[in-house]
Subunit: 536 residues, 2 copies
Amino acid sequence: MLSRPSTPARNEDREQLMRLTQALTSAADTFPGRTASIDGTITRTWIERHERVTRLAGALRDLGTAAGDRVAILAHNGDRYTELLFATWWAGGTVVPLNTRWSAAELAHTLEDCSARILFVDAPFLPMLGELRARVRSIETIVCLGGKASADARLFTEDLIAGGQPCADAMRSGEDLAGLFYTGGTTGFPKGVMLPHRALWYNALAIAKEMGLDSRTVWLHAAPMFHLADFAANTSIALVGGRHVYIPAFDPEAALQAIEAHAVNSTILVPTMLGRILDHPAFDAARTRSMRRLLYGASPMPEGLLRQALREMPHVRFFQGYGQTEMAPGITILPPEDHVLEGPSSVRLRSAGVPTIGCEVKIIDEQGRKVARGTIGEITARSPGVMLGYWNQPEQTKTSLRDGWVHTGDCGFQDEDGFIYVVDRLKDMIVSGGENVFSAEVESALSTHPDVGAVAVIGIPCKTWGEAVHAIIVPKPGASIDDASIIEHCRKRIAGYKCPRSISVSTEPFPLSSAGKVLKRELRAAFWEGGSCCVQ
Amino acid sequence: MLSRPSTPARNEDREQLMRLTQALTSAADTFPGRTASIDGTITRTWIERHERVTRLAGALRDLGTAAGDRVAILAHNGDRYTELLFATWWAGGTVVPLNTRWSAAELAHTLEDCSARILFVDAPFLPMLGELRARVRSIETIVCLGGKASADARLFTEDLIAGGQPCADAMRSGEDLAGLFYTGGTTGFPKGVMLPHRALWYNALAIAKEMGLDSRTVWLHAAPMFHLADFAANTSIALVGGRHVYIPAFDPEAALQAIEAHAVNSTILVPTMLGRILDHPAFDAARTRSMRRLLYGASPMPEGLLRQALREMPHVRFFQGYGQTEMAPGITILPPEDHVLEGPSSVRLRSAGVPTIGCEVKIIDEQGRKVARGTIGEITARSPGVMLGYWNQPEQTKTSLRDGWVHTGDCGFQDEDGFIYVVDRLKDMIVSGGENVFSAEVESALSTHPDVGAVAVIGIPCKTWGEAVHAIIVPKPGASIDDASIIEHCRKRIAGYKCPRSISVSTEPFPLSSAGKVLKRELRAAFWEGGSCCVQ
């Protein structure tokens, strides 16, 4: 029989629980020979990924990475991205995934803010290196993921992995900081959401549960991986021993090709991406026949688009996710069973669903008291996914995180059946003649008009009402906008005071954030700064 | 260059994460009007259950329950059981679910060991109250769940709930002790496995993920709720907002009736129970047509029985669970996809599956080193489900919990595809009808009989119970063995199911190892290889 040498149980053992590297270790142990990732022509098994990550972690240590050091990544989607994440955790560091759409100024601010020591840069972003290098003093090492090495940047080649000595797992876990996720700041510059291992680990498990992911899951990384929405799949897929498929950046044809070629069955898309796939000339539902689960979120889904998607891809189970980076990010989920097109339950298509497993949601008034069911208030949430706070922003942290609850800044209500309806961002709410008008509700009504392609509703200055409801519409191709018809359509669906007082037509697509959200701040600017006013 | 995060969230906020009461609060908030439980003719909604639990918690506080106090429960399955669990947690206490098959001596030992202050007792166990009261000094309050109140025991009536003032959630969570689960001790008496909120909460989430539980889940509590296997469903079902259905104790006809009457779709059974259902004269697969998920475990499943079940109930997805109380309890799971009756994959029916989500399994040799794939060693496991240790048993804790890994005492190997095979559940342990019988405990009881010189207890094959307890006795010089007297002696000391079903007498000394331990493997061989069986 096996003998039992006795060593004491130590307190710090418990701190090894909820460790992101556990997902990789388990996958490599349980499914060593199965394919872990497909990136173009490069395929890796789980044991290969594990081996590469431990070597890359060794290389990171050699480059001077110590426990808690920030490792920044400015890159398109790819297997190297996932390898870097796990290698950073393995070496004990904190990842800082950078937004690939940001300007050099925004990137420099972020890198300085978190005092990153190592920066990994993908080829397309090399032209910004000079400016970043000059402005960010903390950076000691820059590694290029492609392109050419230069005097101050070494090239990431297979040699870096091949030459790295596999190192032991730093065993960071629990409350140790795993990632800094910079979210667009409304006050000018992004702020860093501090997420510990515990938060990302919990969220990965919750997503796996809600979507029913398992070792047969083949996940397409088409949405940008630096955003937490798709980022989370890095850990979820490892936790269940599934398979990653990557395309560098979203493109409808590339996404369809990857789905077809690799029998992709699961992914997350923002509504804009889904719309571009459905409207693509080469779209054919048969090309997506392997698809089983599609999670959408990060911005409101126009009801018309959702109905189109449900009709055209009946073999796909749709999940709506609502969340926030501060919650790592899941808050609510609308499961496939509640994606019903007809009958009384079809109203739920407009809801964000019910709280994800393990998450509490409380809707509160301005005094912080829980409101009555059906009453609109601010959505607050609490779960093991909650952030530690904002990096170096104690005041912002106090505003957003109170008594363990994240204050989302979103307005919503909960119906009798427990479903949460997100009616608007607090800051996008229009106050017209003393009435609160939620732009998302008006947009939803307008989006069902046959001529409307995209629509954004904002408040514009109004002498009479303070603010007036204004709609900016991008017509569908070939359609023209008849204001009277639009307003008539709207009046049948929502109260008169919510209907647009004025409409303008735009032939340009709306300015979007990197998360695909319409930048209403920019739309509003033209009206408010120009001193124009509503026409009454 | 390690700068400290400037604004960590307050420590106490994070301690509110992974809180078992969260499951109840969320279910009541999200699904207030849906049916939470059906127990005979009594049906409760989630909001009713929440209300009752908060009142019962208030009553527990009035009865003197303070944070961390042990609240013991000796009861059959029922909605009151679940209410008591959540009320105890709500009031800040620690639950101690007692094995309903134990003798008064075993119960008294357990209650004394954990110094329980309050004991809830179901009607059938009232006759033992006198002895328990006399022996256990820590008990201040006894509440009868049925029967008649007496001088020293008050009766649990609806008044207790109706009269209780709803109290605030004590917000115990994380590493706070949620439950003490006594498992049969190898040294004579059971030891208490300390499971914190974190462990039970994680396990509930992992089960929900692995089995795909959701708000449409209707769970039958047919296996005894004091065992962690079914106990875990108390939290899982609340986490997903499903529905509980109870029968007081397992009975094939009662189980079938409950499944039919309440459209039960999910449950856990030990193999013996499944066999009794399938062999019951009134069994008809059509009566189980609502069933979707059946988790089995706690003892080895005879392959013939499993094949029979798969054939007779093709509409049911079978899951095998392997675990240990020390892991809260999940370690591995064999999913429905790997329940294949024919072809090369059918060998997996004999495996325990792959590690559950979030769980690491490592098979080690006598020196604690990981063995090569395919090699038999001791199964060790680590996950957020890991226990804090054994109550008041530092030495036992050191043996079982080393560097954060639980040493299961089970031998097994992992195949090339990651599947774990348990080849020898702890050498000395007998699994009879789903109950673990520790031979040392039975030997300890037998050894006190005046005629017994030496004794070895082993499991021998048994059609009904899987294994049956068999004692081999070497009489004292000049003594002769009277089976009836031996068994009578035993029944006074340990539970009936632990007593030998058969006895054989040996005049030869037992074969010993070099360390002087009885080589039970050799004793067992005669029974297992010879194809003999217990006499029922």
